[in-house]
Symmetry: C2
Subunit: 194 residues, 2 copies
DNA sequence: TGGATCCATTGACATTTGTCAACGGATTTT
DNA sequence: AAAATCCGTTGACAAATGTCAATGGATCCA
């Protein structure tokens, strides 16, 4: 179960984790199964855990005044989930996170995370790199929103995240791209005729 | 000149920088004046420096096929600027960054940054915190884009960034919010009548 | 001080996108 | 197997937003 995480970590750091380090990681991350539709986090709760997805798919969304869901994040194998603001600041989250497929994840608390990073410097390095990647990815996503109309946002998404198309239905993708499912459907139709 | 940076750093870390540490910081950060309209970074270049703004205002934007500018970031005193992707990966940037006002900034190269962070652990801590804050802020901005119509995005912006309204003209703000200046103007008018 | 440029606003109109309702096919649940 | 739910599509229409052109005031600059 933890193997997936070890592999993931090793792919980011210079020299692989040693036996002792692996043991520390194993102790800090608790396996958990999250069934389809089950909440990992509900609006109003504090996000107690960050999760590494070993298998499955999850979505993060907010709910507006009219009860409509707006997808702010999607994640599958080898992705992290959680509301960072709530997790770090210990404030109530405005997001919901639930499993879109039956999911196996590894959970860690903020305290354990801090201890672990302190004990294993390679993980500090990892954390830094992940933050870099995350910052770069969100910057790009933001750039799409300010500069691209719906059609090009979709085209760009299809190019960069083809995996997601097989895992999430279109109305989820549409919401993630800031449009309705109807608009997505019509844009797709246009794109076919070219 | 470096005082502003020291103050800024100290506000984020547990115990203030010592004399030696200050000297290291001072050596790594080179002061530079950037005149209004002058480029700090042009599309196609590699972003060699990260900049801390001591005084002034800058904007970061991309340019689309039709030559239209799209503002992806705005920054004033005590903010950082630079294209992180380009800075870290050493790839050509797709962004332009220029000074909106005459600006005084402190510049650091990636190599010096890495050395400095290594030499001054408190700055590692700082970097971590800044990444947290940045991640949280961009997450919120993204959430606005997927879940809020133009009017609410503006209202939210006015609440959270009143400083920017005094520093940048409306057509810049509009672009930052992913709408045209005309739309922003009309929305403002509506909001007055309430 | 004149002329140019920048800025915000407005009107008329086009385009994009959203809303609502309906449909049929697939999948899930009971 | 029947019923319920989910999903993608479509049509008719409404609402939001963009485009283009014009204006007047402010500011910059030569």
């Amino acid at each position: 179960m933890h193997e997936a995480l070890f592999t993931y970590i090793n792919s980011y750091i210079r020299s692989p984790l040693g036996t002792t380090e692996k043991a520390l990681v194993k102790k800090a991350f608790v396996p958990k199964k999250i069934r389809k539709k089950q909440y990992f986090l509900q609006e109003g709760e504090v996000c107690k855990y960050a999760a590494f997805i070993v298998k499955g798919a999850m979505r993060q969304y907010s709910i507006d005044d009219k009860g409509a869901e707006h997808i702010v994040g999607l994640s599958i194998e080898n992705w992290w989930v959680g509301d960072r603001e709530s997790f770090v600041m210990l404030t109530p989250s405005i997001y919901n996170i639930d499993a879109w497929e039956d999911t196996e994840a590894l959970l860690i608390t903020r305290a354990d995370q801090l201890n672990l990073y302190h004990a294993v410097p390679a993980l500090d390095e990892l954390s830094l790199k992940l933050d870099e990647r995350h910052a770069i990815a969100t910057q790009k996503r933001l750039n799409d929103f300010v500069s691209l109309p719906a059609e090009k946002r979709l085209a760009h998404f299809v190019e960069t995240h083809p995996e997601f198309l097989q895992r999430f239905p279109q109305h989820i993708i549409a919401s993630y791209l800031g449009m309705t499912k109807e608009t997505l459907s019509r844009i797709r139709k246009q794109m076919m005729h070219k």
